[in-house]
Symmetry: C2
Subunit: 409 residues, 2 copies
């Protein structure tokens, strides 16, 4: 399926060189859950003493795997942990059978590794509503355990892909007073987020030693300014999952006050979140929307998301049309406070509109030149207060329609 979709024009030139994170090992296998001739299951094994934190979809129809991870993620990590992920089938909306599949996989991994089942986390991504053939995954558990290797993170990034057109990875190395720590993460996802195959899954690892509640607090706070600030099509998966494991293998302690670490983690999460947008279904442009001068940060976010989700703005960007009237429209409809005559709108560095009208110095050719770029910045100042927000999206093209109108059948 993935092979039919051309690689996004916004894809990076190559998968990045990710550092080995001591205390975590990866393995992949061909389980044949749905795809043939490719690796479709990934295992990540975390050493004893690792902390695990997680952030999950808010969907009220979330999958059995998500419900199970949520129940487990607050638990004690002293015994280590396993994360096992399959692509091709999401195990979402599969009734009680879905819960049974999760239990069966967790028990199998627990039995083969000696971990308690409460330390086995699962994710599934792929078609919705079809029974997960979990026996095919379980049949590969011994092979996965035998194959685990700290250097196989790129293999892991490839195994979790569905409609993704490129594997996604990012990393950082942080010098702290106590020594050097490393962070490496992988992600998959190409809608925000199509429920059939394009759930967003993210796994991040560090060899820093981080107490669980501090790790959870960092991850939750940073998700709000990274993964929760991207949108491809305003749709939300039943299965979105972000898990982070801190192995502590570096012996370097990190606390909630370690701003250098937090900043580095923010960078990794932002990079991965931007890669998800850049693999947005049919995307040809990467768009940053920055809103300032709003009555509050929440209002700024409401305006920014109204702009980023507007089909009319996204199609205008696809057409390289500097259609600032549609930005005025989106601000008007968002529901957050706005005064027509105090708005300032910029495309890139070009002042387009101010004082309730097009800027007297603006010429259409200037806006058109900005729109021809592959990365586009739209900024709006409301002129009301100090609220700001930045979100990221892509354009809405014929490619999105082709992928989604012709997909499952």
């Amino acid at each position: 399926m993935a092979g039919k979709i051309p690689t996004s024009p916004l894809a990076p030139a190559a998968f990045p060189d990710l550092p080995v994170i001591d205390g975590v090992r990866f393995a992949t296998a061909e389980a044949g859950v749905r795809y043939q001739g490719r690796r479709d299951v990934m295992l990540a094994m975390l050493d004893a003493g690792s902390s695990v934190a997680g952030v999950f979809t808010r969907s009220k129809t979330r999958s059995a795997n998500v419900l199970d991870c949520q129940a487990k993620v607050g638990g004690d990590a002293s015994e280590g942990a396993a994360i096992i992920v399959n692509s091709g089938n999401s195990n979402a909306f599969t009734g009680r059978a879905g819960d049974g599949s999760v239990s069966a996989i967790c028990e199998a991994v627990a039995g083969a590794t000696g971990l308690p089942a409460t330390r086995v986390f699962t994710s599934s991504t792929g078609v919705i509503g079809e029974r997960l053939p979990h026996d095919r995954i379980i049949a590969k558990v011994d092979e996965l355990i035998a194959a685990q290797d700290g250097g196989k993170i790129e293999e892991a990034a490839l195994a979790i892909m569905t409609t993704d057109t490129f594997p996604k990875g990012a990393s950082a190395t942080v010098e702290l007073p106590g020594g050097t720590v490393k962070i490496a993460g992988i992600a998959k996802g190409s809608g925000m987020i199509a429920p059939d195959m394009a759930t967003m899954l993210v796994y991040i690892f560090t060899d820093a030693k981080v107490e669980r509640s501090a790790l959870q607090a960092m991850l939750s706070a940073l998700t709000d300014v990274t993964f929760n600030c991207i949108t491809v099509d305003s749709d939300t998966s039943t299965s979105d999952t972000l898990l982070m494991g801190a192995t502590g293998a570096s012996g370097v302690e990190v606390t909630a006050e370690s701003t250098a670490f937090i900043e580095a983690l923010r960078g990794v999460m932002l990079d991965l979140s931007h890669q998800v947008v850049k693999d947005g279904e049919g995307a040809t442009k990467f768009v940053e929307v920055h809103v300032s001068g709003a009555a509050s940060d929440a209002d700024a976010r409401t305006h920014a998301m109204a702009i980023a989700n507007s089909p009319l703005i996204k199609t205008a960007i696809a057409g390289e049309d500097p259609n600032w009237g549609r930005v005025v429209m989106a601000i008007g409809k968002s529901g957050a406070a706005a005064d027509r005559d105090l708005l300032t709108i910029r495309f890139g560095d070009i002042l387009v509109a101010e004082n309730g009208w097009v800027s007297p110095d603006y010429r259409e050719e200037q806006g058109a030149a900005v729109m021809k770029e592959q990365e586009i910045n739209i900024s709006v100042d409301l002129g009301l207060g100090g609220g700001t927000a930045t979100v990221w999206t892509c354009d809405l093209t014929h490619g999105y329609i082709s992928i989604n109108a012709d997909y499952r059948s």
Copy 2:
């Protein structure tokens, strides 16, 4: 511009025969605001004693015309009223110049008709952010006044079109204890609603005698279950306007208790609102979404709109793919109460999913057959309470992308 877009496959075979409404007359003219070689300005003249009520966009960046109409619509109607509408230029986001254009047109019509300017209502629809050449409209006022005729309502429906691919009209005749009254209305709009050219404008007339506050109450309540229940693309115009005039020429009084009249008016408004969806940009399918069993009517509406606005559902419908998993996704993301395992989903009469999973009797061919129809019904029962809602939308096709990505430039 309209000529380049092929007529919607959902268009009615012909414009309906609308009855003459005593007490209102129409005229149109070629003012050349933007379009050449077609009528682009419409005047409707209402006799003294008419009541006028209105409902307007909630956009915070609404146009000068909307602000002016809102200020006037509560006023005394004893002297009659005029409604003058141009297509081609929306006079939205045109700063103080926009207010000046509205005043100039109102003064000109007032001067030529003897009406006070407070009884002249204007609407403008078309490109946003360009100064309205109101002199071209004013130059036609005498010609319009001379040409007015009760039989020219179809001409009026044609003159207000922008990206519309067909003119929209609907009517009803109601037998009441006091005699017969007639209702006739026209509308334009083909997005919900594109701000450049596809604002929704609706004008409805009746010869019933209806006190203004009763007329306003009826119109507001019925808008909530008709025009506020349609969506093409979730975008909202800066200029949406619905005006209704009751001339009283029949001598038949209608009050807030006249259920037969209210039901007939609801029918006219529903018909016009459905025609707007059927002229949705790129639409090839007309979709009714019915939600029941929700915790409240408000929750039901939230779910229904999440389904109707989901790009993934709309593209699946375009692809004739019975992708019920995307319906589960939309319910999950809507934010309103839902229980995955209590959902029931039907496509047409076909039971697709229940008890948190696909129905054991469902076969994909059944859903596929429903999706091949031109009019499709999606129903969801939440199994939680008595809340219901029905909304209408269209599919999301390559046509929408083509129209909106290539439009203005």
